[in-house]
Symmetry: C2
Subunit: 354 residues, 2 copies
């Protein structure tokens, strides 16, 4: 493996000194980029793109050609795991992802198993290896997975959901059955992320997109407890370096202390929390990644610069901050506005690291 | 006006002693009730139903015939106000509400004015008067409005939105213009709610459905500040009784202290906050209304009873709690399950008021 030329992102996650605040964007390889849309066109469907390591590598690198980002993130989808568990992922036009065999009863739950990442998910590991080779040490590569709770919402509902009717009925009436789903899914995620690390991922992030739909008690029991198991089960060193783990619960701003206590290295923060308050609450336990409102990128470049400054000022002096949006970049954003954000982060953050 | 036979709801909002915890449900007059669907069928469209005082009264009273609820809430829609402001509300099949003239520029903003509630919104006031007459003092009647920020999201976006692209671009780039929208809307809401109170509403609730999409700083400046103006501008006594004001920001659990400082009487609480923690945070400043996860009603009756018990136990002893769901009741819920919830609240809460 080539030597890592820019380790600002990894250092900030481990709260080691950096020269400026590192920055990347959730969904940085995505529809807001015309070159992404062109590759996607070439690939066919969204899943065809995920399953093609060469093209997944191509789109992963596209934002790095445009912007001086400090990290690359594997282009993939969180639903690769339940698909590999045998639920039969498919996409219906305009309907989003669906599963042919949603988990609704004992028999369905008993039938799921932990996939072998180098077999059923080999296309993901091949993408990781290809991207690492093509990155050639420019910046670190982030691997990722959905959280067990978030994956289970799709597995039980059979697709996207507004009210989480089926999984919450299961959670309240048959917690034993849901715990079984979450246990198997956690094992699958641990093996999946460890395989990504073995294949070359230099940091990993767990996306808990739907943890914020839970009450405090059910969040702890059905989402956080399983993320903690994942943190405990991960390979934390590879290639002679620490492999940092980031946990991100969207709308989880009320539970940062609990999240920090899992043993992870960093928390993703959406824009509904104040990053200065968040820093006070988690102390020096974890680094923070975030948290610009993604809608700021719809505003003018001057406004973007001002709002970037406010987030940097909110975090304050010293390391432990990875700049990011509070959620994925919106497809309608002008790439020039993303450029303005990245430039502002690097420029305006230097005084905070002197 | 007839004497009020059950004032448990009003007393709990004012933190006066009660014999048991009062209960009502957001959207209690709604699609989960077959009798509602029958009246809606008869009325025509959803807005036809809102605009027909006799039928609006009919659906308002339907849940009270089924369940021993402690309050009725006016059947109406939050978008009556922007419609009366001249934006041209219409509904597109399967698309939700839309406005013909969304506010996007200075000229559009300059053209909006404060409607006279007894003229352009007379149908709402007639509904309030009709409901009060038909209620005949059984339980108090709640009036309501959307918050200025929440109304403005529809007014600027031109309908429902996932990412609030237009209003947030305006907020970040042209805060002066958005403040103008919010000022006029606040005046409209104050006059609208005061007219509801004059017509017979005995408590009022402000629904800030989309305040949780803001950052802490922008929430305070663009949502909370205007709710505070409303609280300050409302008639707080009528018919020789206090008229309590409830503020509810969905996903606003991080900002309860700030909300309590507005001078309102009670806060609505969604299910993502722990009601015991919330009570500690707001002290004796305000009462709390909530906060069962609406999805609990998809579970069995035994589970519903247990979960109701946990919310009551979470709040603890003494007055100041109005039981409710943390959000509107889902259309697919079995009415028998709503009945089980209401029964459990009354039965299980008595020991907390001894």
């Amino acid at each position: 493996m080539s030597e890592l030329k820019n380790d600002r992102f990894l250092r900030a996650l481990l709260r080691q000194p950096v020269d400026m605040t590192p920055v990347w964007m959730m969904r940085q390889a995505g529809r807001y980029l015309p070159e992404y849309r062109a590759t996607r066109e070439k690939a066919g469907s969204f899943m065809d793109l995920c399953m093609n390591p060469e093209l997944a590598c191509e789109v992963t690198l596209q934002p790095l050609e445009r912007f001086p980002l400090d990290a690359a993130i594997l282009f993939s989808d969180i639903l690769t795991v339940p698909d590999a568990m045998g639920l039969g992922l498919y996409f219906e036009e305009g309907e989003g992802p669906r599963f042919k065999r949603p988990l609704r009863d004992e028999a369905g739950v008993a039938a799921i198993g932990v996939p072998d990442p180098e077999q059923e998910l080999r296309y993901v590991m091949d993408a990781v290896r290809t991207i690492r080779r093509e990155l050639d040490g420019r910046v670190p590569l982030i691997g990722f997975s959905g959280s067990p709770w978030t994956l289970a919402t799709y597995m039980v509902e059979g697709g996207s959901s507004k009210d989480f009717r089926h999984i919450k009925a299961m959670m309240y009436d048959r917690p034993d059955l849901l715990h079984k789903v979450l246990e198997v899914t956690s094992q699958a995620v641990i093996q999946y992320l460890n395989a990504q690390i073995a294949a070359g991922a230099q940091a990993v992030m767990v996306f808990d997109t739907w943890g914020g739909a839970l009450s405090p008690r059910t969040y702890k029991a059905f989402s956080l407890a399983y993320m903690e198991r994942i943190v405990q089960g991960l390979t934390r060193e590879a290639e002679g370096r620490a492999v940092p783990v980031i946990l991100f619960t969207k709308n989880g701003g009320q539970w940062l202390e609990d999240m920090a206590a899992t043993g992870c290295d960093a928390l993703g923060l959406d824009w509904t929390s104040d990053i200065g308050d968040a820093r006070k609450r988690v102390g020096d336990k974890v680094a923070l990644q975030g948290n610009l409102d993604p809608c700021v990128l719809y505003a003018s470049k001057d406004t973007i610069r001002r709002e970037v400054g406010l987030v940097l000022e909110g975090y304050g002096k010293g390391t432990g901050h990875v700049f990011n949006l509070g959620h994925g970049i919106h497809p309608q954003v002008d790439p020039e506005h993303a450029a303005a954000m990245v430039e502002a982060v690097h420029e305006l953050s230097k005084p905070y690291h002197r």
